[in-house]
């Protein structure tokens, strides 16, 4: 809200930083010799590539939570669905190189004694089709789910709980072998993407760059939406939903729009994530994953553009450090983070800084206004 005026330059700075990373990091990884001080090791490229996908996911959540006030505890579902769509493409790319050497069927289907490819696997050998599904499947789920939920005015914690139930239901469903998505083990052992070997350093660097570009597009998209009149309407819905109704808007459609766009963004994030980690399994649907996304956005500052990006990168970097150094303590820390942020830092890092800045501006403006008021233009009611 406070950002409204400063959104412009800040969006562009953020986008520029992300795009610079998209170019410079792969260059530093591939172009510089190993012993060069600015060389970026390959594992770091892979690591931060994942974090960038998380950042996009957090941004997607921020669009619905920060701007429209819908706390979704099921965004991991959209992420995972996008990931599965990409995973299915990567599975089909394995072809006859799988353990059983079947040119069409993925290994897990052969071991289940399946004879034919299920119909919903058709088309995933084409990259464009997979990309379409990456957008369509999460988008459609978000649309249908949102349509029913928002139309019947399910709000607040009720909505949070049924989004969590949604991802929980999908978790259970994807664990089943006969769903045809690899059951417990999920989809893995990918070989190549668009003909490039998926393990290769250069492919990894390219995926990193692609993730950064996607994030930059995401930031611009969310920036554009939130700066439009629709964005103002979203905040209006967040703060006083019934008021928007009584001036003739339909908040359910506003929410549905945001939820669907957000679902698609999460799906894209998942699709970029899967080739970088090399596996997608039902664990991605677990409610814990979804709720972790919430804390990324909360730490960085919801309702801002930079906040969720920053939060996702920070929290995940912290998680990497802690889980390698003191694995026991990470859940304590994560739990503590939830408590700390909600209790003491409800605006998040970016929000708190902005708020301080805004308070400063407000006092200055009040001082200016005092001078003007001395002239006595309007009867100003006593507070």
């Amino acid at each position: 809200m406070i950002l409204a005026r400063f959104l412009g330059p800040r969006v562009w700075i953020l986008v520029a930083v992300i795009l610079a990373a998209a170019v410079l990091v792969p260059m530093a990884n591939l172009g510089l010799p190993r012993d060069h001080p600015l060389h970026v090791p390959s594992y770091a490229v892979q690591l931060w590539g994942r974090f960038v996908c998380y950042a996009l996911l957090a941004l997607a959540l921020d669009l619905v939570w920060g701007y429209v006030g819908i706390l979704s505890l099921g965004h991991g579902a959209f992420f995972a669905l996008g990931g599965y769509a990409m995973g299915m493409y990567l599975m089909r790319q394995i072809g006859a190189r799988g353990g059983y050497g079947n040119p069409v069927l993925p290994d897990f289907m052969v071991s289940l004694n399946w004879k034919e490819l299920p119909w919903y696997w058709y088309g995933f050998d084409q990259f464009w089709f997979a990309c379409l599904m990456v957008v369509l499947v999460p988008g459609l789920l978000a649309f249908v789910f949102g349509f029913f939920a928002f139309r019947s005015r399910v709000t607040g914690v009720y909505l949070s709980i049924i989004t969590q139930a949604m991802t929980y239901a999908l978790l259970l469903a994807f664990f089943r072998n006969d769903m045809g998505f690899g059951g417990n083990n999920g989809l893995t052992d990918f070989k190549d993407i668009l003909g490039f070997p998926i393990q290769a350093v250069s492919t990894r660097a390219a995926l990193f760059a692609a993730s950064c570009v996607a994030l930059a597009i995401g930031v611009l998209l969310v920036g554009w939406i939130t700066r439009s009149k629709l964005g103002k309407l979203m905040i209006a819905v967040r703060d006083a939903e019934s008021r928007t109704r009584f001036i003739g808007w339909r908040p359910e459609y506003v929410k549905l729009f945001a939820f669907t766009v957000s679902g698609v963004m999460a799906g894209v994030a998942g699709a970029l994530y899967v080739p970088q980690v090399g596996i997608i399994n039902p664990g991605e649907f677990s409610p814990l994953n979804s709720i972790e996304v919430v804390i990324w956005a909360a730490v960085g500052g919801r309702g801002t553009l930079i906040g969720p990006v920053l939060g996702a990168l920070l929290v995940n970097y912290g998680k990497t450090i802690f889980t390698t150094v003191w694995p026991e303590t990470w859940l304590f820390l994560l739990g503590g983070l939830f408590v700390f942020v909600t209790l003491l830092l409800p605006r998040g890092i970016v929000g708190t800084i902005d708020h301080g800045f805004d308070a400063f501006r407000a006092t200055r403006r009040a001082r200016d206004a005092e001078k003007g008021e001395a002239a006595g233009a309007v009867p100003n009611p006593a507070e």
Binding site: R243, F246, Y253, F257, P379
Partner: protein, 340 residues
């Protein structure tokens, strides 16, 4: 309308007393009574005067009845149906000229009748003040008009023939009914200007809002509303930082931006200073020059300042209606509301 009902009632009653084959000295009288309502002649000439001629009861129309008899459909059920249709048409005519028409509205919550057989008519261009003790059903009435609550029974019509019970809040708002809540409800994270911009009448589609561009006409309308509500120099202020009174004005400004035909204003001056109250009364009178306004208010001096027709609600129905002097001298009103 009342007369029609009485006539129908008589017809029905008489019929139940008579066997279809009944004959003898009583018959003509009965026929006359049965004929009283359903006659085609009646339909054309439903003025109260003419009615009076027909109505005078069993004794009067005896002579007439003998020559009218042949036109009459003898079937009592058809007569009853026609009665109902005529009554409905009469009602339709009666409400056609009104802006807001509530008839027999009832709404109960867990057995508690918040609104009990309430009937209320607001004419086009009228300003009406509604008073009444707490729990009289004022807020529930507004909920029903604006579509937030569906009544259990009764009719709510806007502009004569739009049945409001079939529409939701957004649709009703778009038809031109604006509502101000008891507690000022504005978008606190937005500036005053943005609050009004979001309320401006116009397309309400999500995609339009996404690609919407500000233009000169819009700016002028906002300017005008800011002027009316005395908020011009606060246009860049966040609504959260406004004083209570300014929030109330902003909310009224948002209603104006909607360009409604009817404004429902719930306790606009609660918590205001005297100066603010006076200013608000002026604002409402100014608005009422071009639109209909319904104001719910406890502050009697404010109601007096408005100087309009007053309706006093009590336990979900109209207790008294008329000028403020008439209502405030009504013993029933004094009993339940004003106190002795």
């Amino acid at each position: 309308m009342v007369e029609t009902k009485v006539a129908g009632k008589v017809a029905g009653d008489v019929h139940t007393l008579t066997t279809p084959q009944g004959s003898g000295p009583g018959k003509p009288v009965r026929n006359a009574a049965e004929a009283a309502g359903p006659r085609p002649v009646e339909e054309r000439s439903r003025g109260p005067g003419e009615r009076a001629v027909v109505e005078p009861g069993p004794a009067g129309p005896q002579a007439e009845s003998s020559h009218r008899e042949p036109d009459v459909s003898p079937h009592p059920y058809a007569a009853l149906m026609r009665e109902r249709r005529l009554a409905a048409e009469a009602e339709g005519r009666a409400r056609r000229d009104t802006l807001l028409y509530l008839s027999g509205v009832t709404k109960s919550f867990d057995g508690f009748k918040a609104i009990n057989n309430l009937s209320l008519v607001i004419e086009k261009g009228e300003m009406r003040a509604i008073i009444g003790p707490n729990g009289a059903g004022k807020t529930t009435m507004m909920d029903i008009i604006t579509g937030k609550t569906r009544p259990d029974r009764g009719e709510v019509f806007f502009n004569g023939d739009v049945d409001l019970t079939h529409h939701d809040e957004a649709a009703i708002a778009s038809m031109g009914i604006g509502r101000k809540f008891q507690k000022p409800t504005v978008f606190e994270s937005h500036t005053v200007e943005d609050n009004i911009r979001l309320s401006l009448s116009g397309p309400r589609s999500v995609l339009e809002a996404l690609v919407h561009r500000k233009d000169e006409a819009e700016r002028e309308r906002i300017e005008a509303i800011l002027e009316t509500t005395r908020l011009t120099d606060k246009r860049k202020t966040f609504a959260a930082n406004l004083s209570h009174g300014q929030k109330q004005w902003l909310e009224i400004g948002m209603l104006l931006a909607q360009d409604p035909e009817l404004l429902l204003v719930d306790e606009p001056v609660a918590g205001m200073t005297d100066a603010e109250t006076e200013e608000t009364a002026r604002l409402l009178r100014e608005i009422a020059a071009t639109r209909s306004v319904v104001v719910v208010e406890h502050d009697m001096s404010f109601v007096r300042a408005l100087g309009v027709k007053v309706t006093c609600l009590h336990e979900g129905s109209v207790l008294s209606e008329g000028s403020l002097d008439k209502v405030s001298n009504d013993p029933k009103v004094i009993e339940v509301y004003l106190g002795r």
